[in-house]
């Protein structure tokens, strides 16, 4: 079995030490990981291509449990392609603590970008093109992801 704590620390260090915060690379790497993970995650489950709500629900439950060991705490939608996912104890943030809140936000940018890319990649593999952003407006280590689905049909996968 893999030591989860070790993996979390390794991932944070990998993103941080490559100086990826603030560049697009973290997001692109997350995209690849999410895309590939979705192939495995959806192997035994039929998901319809244009049903964005089902895709997001699958992400919130099965995939979130698979990656972070828990479900998303709150899912909101305006039923017009915008979804907000709130995780009150985002696994990758729980190990970061810093007296200066602004500093801790700056340091975790790369990790959040990676997470956004992860979600974007997972959705892309199901056929949903989306823009994903993360916010730390809630009490640390809570985090909310804002997902906006493109409703125009397009065939690009990246």
């Amino acid at each position: 079995m893999i030591s989860e704590a070790t993996f979390d620390l390794l991932l944070a260090e990998a993103i941080h030490s490559r100086g990826l915060s603030g560049s697009d690379e973290a997001e692109l790497q997350g995209f690849e990981v999410g895309f590939r993970l979705m192939e495995r995650a959806s192997q035994t489950r039929v998901l319809v291509a244009d049903d964005h709500l089902e895709a997001i629900k699958f992400l919130c439950k099965d995939m979130w449990i698979g990656i972070f060991g828990k479900q998303i705490d709150k899912l909101q939608t305006n039923h017009r392609g915008v979804f907000v996912l709130k995780d009150y104890a985002f696994r990758w943030l729980t190990r970061h603590s810093c007296a200066d809140e602004a500093l801790s936000r700056a340091r975790t940018q790369g990790l959040l970008q990676f997470s956004c890319g992860l979600l974007r990649g997972a959705l892309a593999n199901l056929g949903s093109q989306a823009i994903v952003t993360a916010e730390l407006s809630l009490a640390y280590p809570a985090c909310s992801f804002n997902i906006q689905i493109h409703t125009l049909p397009c065939n690009i996968t990246n």
């Binding site: 291509a49 056929g127 065939n155 990246n158």
Partner: protein, 154 residues
């Protein structure tokens, strides 16, 4: 009875990612490719029907009998399609075909999970993928021909 299974994996844009012909039909790739392209419409219909009926089966069953062949399909949640073209003289029961497709799907997932493969590749050229598809075809789409050869001494 010789079975001549032929496999094709179609990507998201309906392009063929992988194409494999077995046995005596090796010289008819272009013709067999055409058969598969013709069947893609049927695949789309099956997927749409599955979506509206809420079906949970990736195996699509017999798509169409064309000429001397029968085409079977399987579509994943990630818009990857597998199509098998089989001699009509070979009788395969559904269970064998399902097992075949599930193994092919597994091979594809393993291929994608490899971080060295490109996500936007137009062809799957990995030898291990080809070997897995061959093994699946041998296991499920061929009748047992002769007893297995004795293991070579190591």
């Amino acid at each position: 009875l010789a079975t001549t299974p032929r496999r094709r994996v179609a990507g998201k844009k309906m392009e063929p990612l992988f194409f494999r012909v077995y046995e005596s039909h090796a010289g008819r790739e272009a013709y067999l490719q055409n058969l598969v392209v013709c069947s893609l419409d049927v695949v789309e219909e099956c997927v749409a029907a599955r979506a509206s009926s809420g079906g949970q089966d990736m195996y699509l069953g017999l798509l169409a009998p064309i000429d001397a062949f029968r085409l079977y399909g399987y579509a994943t949640s990630t818009q990857i399609k597998f199509i098998a073209v089989v001699d009509e003289t070979a009788r395969h029961d559904e269970a064998a075909l399902r097992k075949f497709f599930v193994q092919c799907h597994d091979a594809y997932v393993t291929y994608i999970l490899n971080p060295f493969t490109k996500l936007d590749a137009t062809q799957i050229t990995a030898a291990s993928f080809r070997a897995k598809i061959d093994a699946a075809a041998n296991a499920h789409l061929r009748p047992p021909a002769r007893p297995p050869s004795p293991p070579t001494p190591s």
